[in-house]
Amino acid sequence: MAALAWFAPLWEFSFMQRALLGCLLLSLSAAPVGVFLMLRRMSLTGDAMAHAILPGAALGFLISGLSLGAMTLGGIVAGLVVAVASGLVARSTILREDTALAAFYLLSLALGVLIISTYGSQVDLLHVLFGSVLALDNAALALLLGIAGLSLLALALLYRALVLECLDPDFLRAHSRRWSALAHYGFLVLVVFNLVAGFHALGTLMAVSIMVLPAAAARFWVRRIQSLLGLAPLLALVCCVAGLLLSYHADWPTSPAIVLALGAVYLFSMVFGRFGLWRQRAISPVHLKG
């Protein structure tokens, strides 16, 4: 019963219930997007995009204070501008996409920090950087619900094109330029939307962790993309619950607690997963006949 008591805060306090619901929605939409980020070798791109949405959120904050709508809209616009601008630079100059993106997100980040430091207080900066999963109000939950619904619908529609775009992009382009562009840019839009959703809960700096870490951990357990897409959200949710409780009992800040829980699962999977270090080492030297 002592164990059950440890979980009790989850249903005893309404702010914990809200946090749990927010985490569930975020896990459902962000973790599958993270699987594709990982498979497209764009994990760090996700990180850069997360930084890029800061000035948009800051501008929204500047115009209308700690307003959910303004900060969300600003974040989405900033993220899309950086994504499209770096895509254009990569396509029309000698710079590759990674350098173009790095340049734009650094500019964007500096601009965001400048705006917040000049016009806001330290507390506001902390809120934007580290999120406030324990203070999700109805509007924020509605936003997370909307983005989760949209993401899942878009992923379902884009799934086949997106898999082919990752696997053999030339083949998809030869068959359908429209779907090729839709998969490429549609996916970037999904990343931006989920980062904005994540930044309300976990903050801009750690929003990408709920995408990348569950996907990376799941890779050590399962082989097929369908299984990855199922396991990653599950791991994300479990880690969110663990992080919330950890933060409650130890009185730690919530976002880092969640991210550290995700990190612990990642490290555990890397060592003990079916395709992790330990199992691959300890595999039986006896091999099959055919």
Binding site: L39, L157, L158, R160, A161, V163, L164, C166, L167, D168, P169, D170, F171, L172, A174, H175, S176, W179, R219, R223, R224, I225, L228
Partner: protein, 312 residues
């Protein structure tokens, strides 16, 4: 098809063009090409290249190519490194825009292209079945439903290339040759009218390449046009009725035995491979078709000019 009839080099597309049937004037090989399956020639149009020049940054990789492949042709494209073979395939696959000239007979046709080194992420966690069934994209598209019949066709295609039992293996566990066979299964499902294969047997053992060659012949016999870039001349002589010998310009085209003569091969090897940055504009040269006088090949000033890369 009187080549001395000196039709203008570029005609309006709507006019039935009296084109040179296959080779430019200078090439000492038979002009007419046997049509392997006459019955299909009427159903499917031939593919015609009209004074085609393709290349990069105005340097032609291969220029002044005028020829005609009847439906059902099984053609080997041979030539030294840098002769423009792959570039020609890319142009036919519409991945590269010609610098000048045009390609006819591809409107509304399905084209399947297997590049020399396809940019496929072989660590991507999908099964062989997943990979191969993308060959049916033209039927199911991005949103259509997989039916039992589709899966059945995938299984049959895999069996044809000798990969039965591999359906649920992930693609990272395949060897190079097995992977190539899986790509052939995908090609088979694409059911294209024109197949462009770039060095398809490079990583494939003898018995597999014999199987795959049989597949090529079946495609050709069913009226599909198959263009294959190859280096193994023995293979070409044994299995390919037609050949095109390229060395940045067409050296010879036609029946394989007449194309792969020692004299032609010597000429092909004499090709200059590097682009010449100081090359002058391409004058109408010996390879220009139709015996037209200098500068008859309609380079629009500014954007379609190309430089005669290795010929100065």
């Amino acid at each position: 098809m009187d080549r001395a009839g000196a039709a203008p080099a570029v005609l309006p597309a709507a006019v039935p063009v009296p084109v040179p049937v296959s080779v430019p004037v200078s090439v000492p090989v038979p002009v007419s090409v046997p049509v392997p399956v006459p019955g299909f020639a009427a159903a499917r149009p031939a593919i015609e290249l009209h004074n085609l020049t393709v290349g990069y940054e105005r340097h032609p990789a291969v220029h002044h190519l005028s020829l005609r492949w009847a439906a059902g042709s099984l053609v080997a494209i041979v030539g030294p490194n840098g002769a423009g073979k792959s570039t020609l395939l890319k142009a036919l696959a519409a991945e590269l825009r010609p610098l000048s000239g045009r390609i006819e007979g591809l409107v509304g046709r399905r084209v399947a292209y297997l590049p020399q080194a396809p940019q496929i992420d072989r660590s991507f966690p999908v099964t062989v079945q997943d990979l191969v069934q993308f060959g049916l994209w033209h039927q199911v598209g991005a949103l259509g439903r997989w039916k039992g019949a589709h899966r059945q066709r995938c299984r049959e295609a895999l069996a044809t290339v000798g990969l039965q039992g591999f359906e649920s293996r992930t693609i990272d566990t395949l060897s190079g040759g097995q992977f190539q066979r899986a790509l052939f299964a995908r090609l088979m499902l694409q059911d294209a009218d024109l197949l462009l294969l770039d060095e398809p047997f490079a990583a494939v053992d003898e018995s597999t390449s014999a199987d795959l060659l049989q597949l090529l012949k079946n495609w050709s016999a069913s009226g599909k046009t198959v263009l294959t870039v190859l280096h193994d001349l023995r293979l070409v002589r044994t299995h390919f009725p037609q050949a095109l010998l390229l060395a940045r310009e067409p050296i010879a085209h036609g029946a394989t035995a007449a194309v792969l003569t020692p004299a032609n091969l010597r000429r092909a090897l004499g090709m200059r491979e590097a682009f010449d940055d100081l090359a002058p504009w391409c004058e109408a040269d010996a390879a220009a078709p139709l015996g037209t006088p200098a500068h008859a090949h309609e380079h629009a000033p500014g954007h379609t000019l190309h430089q005669a890369g290795g010929r100065s």
